[in-house]
Symmetry: C2
Subunit: 124 residues, 2 copies
């Protein structure tokens, strides 16, 4: 099980991946057989190719993440609140999200679940 420090570092690397637009850096945080459920309740994306495809749009659209509170580490998992900040021309918007990452023994993300819904999308 990774340490709390390692899980917090992975969360910051995730935020930084968006900041830098570094798609491959983001994908490398995930285990090869990882699953992504974003938002929770929608079909699960599984494996490196599906995860790369999923993040390509977010990264190329220039979405940035901003942590809005501390990372909570418990067992093999980390949960954290953040805003996704997007701009389409002059139109700015945010989505209020909580992500939960579960890590494998190697410190890579084994599954990611993102909690957000229509009520969390707001003008930025």
């Amino acid at each position: 099980m990774p340490s709390a420090e390692a899980m917090i570092a992975a969360v910051h690397a995730y935020v930084d991946g968006f900041e830098k637009g570094d798609l491959e850096g983001l994908v490398a945080l995930f285990a090869p057989d990882a699953s992504v459920e974003d938002p929770v309740g929608t079909p699960i994306k599984r494996g490196t190719e599906a995860i790369r495809e999923f993040y390509t749009f977010s990264v190329t659209s220039g979405a940035k993440l901003e942590l809005t509170g501390p990372v909570r580490c418990a067992g093999d998992s980390a949960a954290f609140p953040f805003h996704v900040k997007m701009a389409f021309g002059d139109q700015k918007s945010i989505i209020e999200v909580i992500d939960v990452f579960r890590f494998n023994e190697d410190g890579r993300i084994a599954d990611m679940r993102a909690f957000w819904g229509p009520g969390n999308m707001k003008p930025g």
Copy 2:
């Protein structure tokens, strides 16, 4: 699946249960066969009796909850960030927590997982 409004109302009822010290009100939010994992990684408490026993200490110790951000509703689940505020004599402390509630068809909590660790315990 309960509506987002119903899930948000349940979260507020949970916070209010602590505010009022209403143990039975808290227990009634959970399905009879619900499970509670608090914090994540520790043994799961299952069923009404185990859940009542679990919350008895928190409620009688006077712990209060304060939401620190919006509830995120996704599918059958709600995630929310909050502080647990406690006082032992002059000693005040907070724990930064993220809870995830999954609801059943009746709008009761089917399982609850609380994410927090030693790094989230601070002077209040």
